[in-house]
Symmetry: none
Subunit: 209 residues, 4 copies
DNA sequence: CATGAATGAGAGTTCATTCAT
DNA sequence: GATGAATGAACTCTCATTCAT
């Protein structure tokens, strides 16, 4: 039993080793320019080993998203469970989003790319459904926050899931667009500030006057 | 005289032929899975011909964005030039965004992918600067609309360019996220509705109470 | 008749135009890196036109050699026809070689490359036999100079054609090797001096003591 | 220990396998008409494997020369080190050249083509400098033989390096020109005989009378 | 389990050549 | 005769993936 446990742990450690390496390489080079050999090299493993832990390159790429989605899910569920007034839940939700960004900015951007990508169609059904489930649950949890606000007459009455979609779209849109602008103009990083205003505008936008 | 003109037109038609084919193929397969031969086949031309009109695959891909960016630019500048009150300009701006989407949804999504992608870094400087300039000008024009609203005391006082970035991020975010959701759930297309609410929330969000 | 003549002249002029351009481009880029479009551009003609005057790229390349071979042939025949003692003929022969080099150094090097090249095998039989004939005749003429020297007891008694081959090999070898050295070391051009010593050594080498 | 050694040997054997195949294919078709697939097929390997051992086609081509240059270098240095009179060193040098030719005629011809070619300019700096160094050293060693002869008053007083260049040019020139003649006239192979006379003439040519 | 050499399909791109105008 | 747009075969090279060790 002890042996088996240790083996499990070792195996998990290898997985982490690969994930950390993959994160670095994908972030730097993007999905297509990153090669499996790059990642293997970064992980100080051989290319063949990667395939013992991940079915193929796309699954490895998608796997990165899973962890951050799990974190997202936990955070928004937690916000939901707290006994707070809708306005305070909104604040907590925004706080959660900052934390999600801080959790791993590079992977987050990776994930947004994944969402908007041909890659998604080629995943194994299992991984695909895991991603789908986590996304759905997280959006659902966010929606419930809005629902509560609507029910209490504080927020305007729109479909809560649509509002959650918009909230998430705004979050990802700002991150992607701000990152993209930096390619043209390396100067300053306006992300934090832009995100702050974005959430402010959104919050004002859903509150009844 | 007539001959030269006709040749010009023929050349432009070929370009269009290729662009139409590229749009279809890129939309269906994404940048990487789409091959130049696919596109050539779709355009009923030989692979070599593509290279008479576009320097390489990435330039062809990026070229698709240019036209929609030009359209975007024209539309927002036009909104700016009209003598309208800020609230009406907001309405006109939102209307313009619907038209930009309608102008060519597939290319628009392509463009968002481009923006958030490794591809952008590999374009020819000329094309890159053209894209950059049109983006900057369009964001600038949008910002001026917000500026006017701020100056007239109708909108909250935040940096107009930040507001324009957020507006654009919201627009692209909603389109990308809604498209992405459809991969999981092909059923219904909530884009129009979601976009409508998104703009409503945004508009309410920037208006002083 | 006058019209036909003029047309002939025009046609010949076009040929020259192409040959001059081809010479420049081949010299600069070598056979393979030079494209027909490069040459057409240099000649201020369209690619298609080149094919009205030369069957294909290889023939155009080989054609360059023909003129210098003709010049070589004329010069060595002329040396032969003069009534000179063998030693003086040797001097005249060496002088002829200098002139052949001066006639067109770039083309001469082109020709040496051609001789030692896969290209030779793909020429049209006609061009191939022209080149072969001129080479053979020139070598033959040179051989006769040596023959005369042998017969008169001044030169050592070896097969005259072998001596001519060696003479020609020495000439081309020195030019190629000196040119090649310049790629490594751009500094100085030792060709003239090296060639001078080479001919001196050769001449001393075939003279009886 | 044994495993690593065996792997080294295996790797070296693969390299040889490729080199042998490349030699055959390049000799038969020349640099440009030979394709990497041809070579892979001849080596009974896949095209991709070639690139594990050689960076690209040109490096593979140039690598062929390296070994014969090394052999040349060793041989001429060895001649130099022996305690022999200049005349005997000349004989030994000539003998060395025959051996260099016999070492690998096809590769030797390949190398002469390389020297006189556009290819040389595109090599990796490392390979280029290796070739340059071996060439320079070999020419230097030959020059020293001549220098000794000059110092002892046996040879005419010309720049030893120029004499070495001429000696090498004669050697390569005779081989190239004789090979070239065989394309026209497949009959007989005069190389051996021509080379013999060439060296005889050269030796006589540098000896004081 | 880990390796990493080998694979080989497939991609983007070039360019000699053709042919309708 | 001249054009030059179009062709499309052919090339080099890459890299995700496999499998014998």
């Amino acid at each position: 039993m002890g042996i088996q446990e240790r083996k499990e742990r070792e195996k998990e450690r290898r997985r982490q080793q690969i994930i950390v390496a993959a994160k670095r390489v994908f972030s730097e080079k993007g999905f297509n320019k990153a090669t499996m050999e790059d990642i293997a090299h970064e992980a100080e493993l051989s290319p063949g080993t990667l395939y013992l832990y991940f079915k193929n390159k796309e699954e490895l790429y998608a796997s990165l998203s899973l962890r951050i989605l799990q974190y997202l899910h936990i955070r928004v569920e937690h916000v939901n469970k707290e006994e707070l007034a809708p306005e305070q839940k909104m604040d907590a939700l925004v706080e959660a989003m900052y934390d999600v960004y801080a959790f791993d900015p590079l992977i987050l951007i990776n994930m947004f790319h994944l969402q908007s990508s041909e890659t998604l169609k080629n995943l194994s059904p299992k991984l695909m459904s895991e991603i789908e489930e986590l996304s759905r649950k997280s959006i659902g949890a966010i929606a419930r926050i809005f629902e509560q606000g609507i029910d209490s007459g504080l927020f305007i009455d729109r479909h809560p899931v649509a509002m959650a979609d918009i909230f998430w779209a705004l979050f990802s849109g700002v991150i992607l667009w701000t990152t993209s602008k930096k390619i043209f103009n390396e100067e300053k990083d306006y992300l934090k500030n832009t995100l702050k205003i974005a959430f402010e505008v959104f919050t004002r936008g859903i509150e009844k006057k």
